[in-house]
Amino acid sequence: MATRQTQSLARLMRAPAIILLLIWMLVPLGMTLYYSFLNYNLLSPGTTSWAGWFNYQYFYTDPAFFQSIWNTLVLVLGVLLITVCGGIAIALLIDKPIFGQGIVRILVISPFFVMPPVAALIWKNMIMHPSYGVFADIAKFFGATPVDWFAQYPLLSIILIVAWQWLPFATLILLTALQSLDGEQVEAAEMDGASAFARFTHLTLPHMSRAITVVILIQTIFLLGVYAEILVTTNGGPGYASTNLTYLIYRAARLNFDIGGAAAGGIIAVILANIVAIFLMRAVGKNLD
C-alpha cells in the first residue's frame, strides 16, 4: 500500500529526466534521418525535393569522405597510443614514493581542464609557431630550420595537441586503478624473486586492464568528435589533410549549407559511434550489479 504509493511517486520523479532525454534523442535524430533523404540546401530554398539515397551515395563517392574517415581513425588511434602508453608510464612514476606528490598530480592533471580552443591556440601560437614558437626557438638554438608544423604535418600536430589534453585523463584513471592494487601481493611476488618486469606484466597490467579498457572506450567516444582543435588550427587543411568526419560534416552543414549531405554524414557518424558505444556499454554494464 505504502510501497505502491512510493512506486508511483518514484515513477513521477523519474519521468521528467526520461521524457527530456527521450525527446532529445528521438526528435533531432529523426530529423537528421529525414533530412538525409532530402535535396535540401539553405542557399536554394524552395527547391527542396526527395533525394532517396543520393546524399549517401554522394557522400560515399566523395574522395574527401574516405580521407576524413582515414584521418578520423589515425587521429583516434594516434591519440590513444600516446595517451595509454604515456598514461601507464606516468601513473607508474607518480605512484612511486616521491616528494611533492600532490603538486606533481596537480601539474599533470591540469591540461585536462583547458578548454579545447585555448589548448589548440596555445600550442599553435606559443609552442608550434614556425617563427615565434618554443619549438622554433629550440630548433634555432641547435642551428636547425624550424618546422612549419601545421603546414607540413597538420594531422600529426593536431594529434599532439589532443594527446596533450587527454594524457591527464588517462593518467588519472590509470593511477586510480593502480592505487587499488594489493601491495602485499606485489611484495610476495617480489620475495619470490619475480623481476620488476615480470611483476608489471603478470600483476600490475592485468590489474589495470579494466581501467585501460575504460580509458580507451571513453576517449574514443570523445575523440571521434574532435572539432574545436581543428577549427582554430588548420581549418581541416591543407586540402582535406586534417579533416575528420566531424569536421567534414560541419563543413557541409555550415559552410556549404548542404543540409541533406550533412545529415547523411551525421547518420554515418552515428553508426560509427554506435559500434564503439556497444563495447563501452558492456564494460560499464558489467559493473552495475
Binding site: A17, S110, F113, M126, V270
Partner: protein, 274 residues
C-alpha cells in the same frame, strides 16, 4: 605496510616525476608567463622572465569587452548545471531507492544518449535554433548544455545515492516519516556531498564545452570557448593578449578541477573505475 625505500631512490623518482610533470604543465606555465609580457617581449624569442606587466589583461578587457563572454560562461555553465540537477536529483533518487526491474536498462539507455555524436544532430539543432530565435541566446545554449550533460549528472548522482544505506530510509519510514520528511531530514544531509561533487564536475564540463557553443552563438551569448575560438584568425600579432585572455578563461576551472580529481574519475567513467 609501506615499503622502505632508500633515500636516493626516492630522490631519483622525485626528479623524474617532477621533470615529466613540468614538461606536461609547461604550455600552461608559458602562457601564464607570456600573459605578463609586453607584446614586443612575447615575440622576441624564448624568455621565462616577463616584465610582469598587466597591460595585456587591461587591453583584453578594453578592446574586446572580455567581461561579457566571461559572464556568459558563468551564466551558461552554472545555469545548465542547476537545471540538470533539478531534473536529475529526483530521477536518480527514485532509481537508487525505488529500483524496478527496468532501472538498469533505463540507466544504460540514458548513457547511450551520451554516445550520440554531437555532429549527427548539428543540422536539426541548428535549424531549430535558427527558426525559433534561440540562436545566439543564453537561454538556448543553457538548455542545450543541460541536455547534453543530463545523462552524466543522473549517473553520477545515482552512484552517490546508491551508497546511502537503505536501512536508514526504512528506519525513518517505520518512525512514520512521510516521503517529504524523508527527503528533507534524512536524504538531503547525506546526499549533499554527492550533489556538490556532481555540481562541480558538471560546471567544468559545461564551461569547457566547445562544439555547441561555437555552433549556436555569434556575439551576444558567446561564452569564453566561442570567444577564444574567434581569435584563430588574428589581425596582427597578439601573443600576450591571447595569453591573458586564455589565462582568465582557464584559471577558474583549473582551480576547481584541482579540487575535483576524484569526482572526475567517477563521473567520467560512469562509476566503472573508482
Amino acid at each position: 605496510m609501506a615499503r622502505a625505500v632508500s633515500r636516493n631512490t626516492k630522490i631519483g623518482y622525485t626528479i623524474a616525476a617532477w621533470f615529466v610533470a613540468l614538461l606536461i604543465f609547461f604550455p600552461i606555465l608559458y602562457t601564464i608567463i607570456t600573459s605578463l609580457k609586453t607584446e614586443q617581449e612575447a615575440i622576441s624569442g624564448f624568455n621565462l622572465i616577463p616584465s610582469f606587466t598587466l597591460q595585456s589583461y587591461e587591453d583584453v578587457q578594453s578592446q574586446y569587452n572580455y567581461i561579457r563572454p566571461f559572464m556568459n560562461s558563468v551564466i551558461i555553465a552554472v545555469g545548465s548545471t542547476i537545471l540538470a540537477l533539478i531534473v536529475a536529483i529526483p530521477a536518480a533518487w527514485a532509481m537508487a531507492f525505488s529500483p524496478t526491474k527496468r532501472t538498469k536498462d533505463i540507466l544504460m539507455w540514458m548513457l547511450s544518449t551520451k554516445m550520440m555524436p554531437a555532429v549527427a544532430v548539428l543540422v536539426p539543432i541548428y535549424l531549430i535554433f535558427l527558426r525559433t530565435g534561440l540562436m545566439d541566446t543564453r537561454i538556448g545554449l543553457t538548455v542545450m548544455l543541460m541536455l547534453i550533460n543530463l545523462p552524466i549528472v543522473v549517473w553520477m548522482l545515482y552512484t552517490y545515492f546508491r551508497e546511502i544505506p537503505g536501512e536508514i530510509l526504512e528506519a525513518a519510514r517505520m518512525d512514520g516519516a512521510t516521503l517529504g520528511q524523508e527527503i528533507v531530514y534524512v536524504l538531503t544531509p547525506m546526499a549533499v556531498p554527492g550533489i556538490a561533487s556532481t555540481l562541480l564536475l558538471n560546471i567544468i564540463l559545461a564551461w569547457n564545452e566547445s562544439f555547441w557553443t561555437i555552433q549556436l552563438t555569434t556575439t551576444n551569448a558567446a561564452p569564453l570557448s566561442a570567444f577564444i575560438a574567434s581569435f584563430s584568425s588574428p589581425q596582427g600579432l597578439f601573443w600576450a593578449k591571447l595569453s591573458a585572455a586564455s589565462v582568465m578563461a582557464i584559471a577558474p576551472i583549473l582551480i576547481m578541477g584541482w579540487f575535483s580529481q576524484k569526482q572526475l574519475v567517477r563521473g567520467l567513467t560512469f562509476g566503472a573505475v573508482k
